[in-house]
């Protein structure tokens, strides 16, 4: 029952996003622009290799905010959030459903950007895709949990679009830092064994914030 409710909400969000593709298009376009702009910023840099992971994750983090901003804002039209909360679905199921949809959308944006990134910056990904996708899955879930939580937190504010980035980026520092280090080293061919600690940070971050949010999301959604 609980799983079905989560899935229903996730499917609903994905379906309405696929109808308009508003957030998706904007997000992909934005991450392209960032990737291109970076190439000018680092034009003279001798050692671009050490910057690649950071560059990729900055593009993801900035482009991701566009998707996350839409998440709960989507429910504002016609006050749909009220209908969801008054339904038997517990607030945590609503949250997880929306998080799942955001996760799928973010992953889609990231995969597209990754392809473009590999071409523009001449990065050879073959043989590294397995570990890289593990890093991407873990870090993206972290971004998703924080982003969806704050999307719910700011949904009733008039300055929603401005507040979300200000609130989420300080929270994303541990995730982005770990993901940047792991990605840079993966691209440079450093064995993962030297960086296990960062994988552990990602896992711990995901678990801690998912748990706290699922426990306390009632406080946010039910007034």
């Amino acid at each position: 029952m609980y799983l079905r409710q989560i899935w229903t909400i996730a499917a609903k969000d994905l379906r309405s996003e696929m109808r308009t593709k508003e957030a998706l298009n904007a997000s992909v376009a934005f991450s392209m622009v960032i990737l291109i702009l970076f190439s000018f910023a680092f034009d003279q840099a001798e050692d671009l290799k050490g910057l690649l992971g950071g560059l990729l994750w900055l593009a993801y983090a900035f482009a991701g905010a566009l998707v996350l901003n839409r998440s709960f804002a989507r429910e504002l039209q016609n006050d749909c959030l009220d209908a969801l909360i008054s339904s038997p679905a517990p607030p945590s199921a609503i949250f997880l459903g929306k998080a799942l949809a955001n996760f799928a959308l973010l992953m889609a944006v990231e995969l597209i950007s990754l392809g473009v990134f590999a071409i523009l910056y001449d990065v050879r990904l073959s043989g590294k895709l397995g570990l890289l996708s593990l890093v991407m899955l873990l870090a993206t879930w972290g971004i998703t949990v924080i982003g969806t939580t704050f999307s719910a937190l700011t949904v009733n504010l008039t300055m929603r679009e401005l507040m979300l980035p200000v609130l989420i980026y300080p929270f994303l520092i541990p995730v982005l830092m770990s993901a940047m280090i792991l990605t840079t080293d993966l691209i440079a061919g450093v064995p993962i064994a030297t960086n296990l600690v960062w994988l552990r940070v990602l896992v711990a971050f995901d678990i801690a914030f998912t748990a706290v949010t699922v426990l306390y999301i009632d406080v946010v959604l039910v007034g």
Partner: protein, 233 residues
């Protein structure tokens, strides 16, 4: 016999301001209660608490003897608020199926089809809600609220913005609910429509219950009688 709805000593504070003060009343199954009061009296706040959208600061709301925020209770409640609460990007059928499966209906698709026929949207079941006229969207919202055959229906100002056809649909469905012994609580300004349907009246003034009881004949004849008799200005 268990009560359809029992509101006991409910307070709701916004900061220090009591929007509801010691609101208590009981509703027997099969009643249609008109929740009356001026703007800002606390009708919407009370309905939101009954619908489980908001927690009371003190006191409790019980539906069939169970707390309003329990999932099992919310399955028995249908809510129709100010706004239509349907998704513009989804089709009429998808909207209803989606809510049906949130309510745990196994035959959500079939029920959605039947409901669309009842509200007169069977022909456009695959049209997106955003392409509908205002009246059609309102009927879709009515269908959403009635879809899971609720035992208790909560309506917030249902007649205010509806068009004629939607009012007709809503009235038929409300009468049918009443005849089947289901319970309805609706807040409204439109006294006449509400009075014709209702069996009981709860009048709220500045967050307190000023009158709670059966509908009296005077209320039907003269709509401002209630305000004059029980209101303080």
């Amino acid at each position: 016999m268990s009560l359809a709805l029992e509101v006991a000593g409910v307070y709701k504070f916004f900061g220090d301001f009591p929007a509801l003060r010691d609101v208590s009343f009981k509703v027997a199954p099969g009643s249609v209660v008109a929740l009356l009061g001026r703007n800002g009296a606390g009708k919407t706040t009370l309905l939101r608490i009954m619908a489980g959208l908001s927690q009371p600061s003190q006191g409790s709301v019980k539906v069939n003897g169970a707390e309003a925020r329990e999932a099992g209770t919310r399955r028995r409640i249908g809510v129709l608020g100010h706004s239509i609460s349907v998704y513009d990007e989804l089709s009429a059928h998808e909207n209803l199926t989606m809510f049906g499966s949130l309510y745990g209906l196994d035959d959500a698709g079939k029920r959605a089809d039947a409901m669309l026929d009842r509200v007169g949207l069977g022909r456009v079941r695959d049209g997106l809600a955003r392409e509908f006229s205002r009246g059609m969207r309102q009927r879709l919202a009515i269908g959403r609220a009635f879809l899971h055959d609720p035992e208790l229906l909560l309506l917030d100002e249902p007649f205010t913005s509806l068009d004629d056809k939607a009012i007709a649909v809503l009235q038929t469905m409300l009468k049918e609910m009443r005849d089947r012994g289901r319970t309805v609580v609706m807040s409204t300004h439109q006294l006449r429509e509400a009075m014709e349907l209702s069996t009981h009246v709860t009048f709220i003034q500045r967050g307190e219950v000023a009158y709670d009881g059966e509908r009296q004949d005077e209320m039907l004849k003269d709509t401002s009688w209630l305000y004059r008799t029980y209101g303080d200005n």
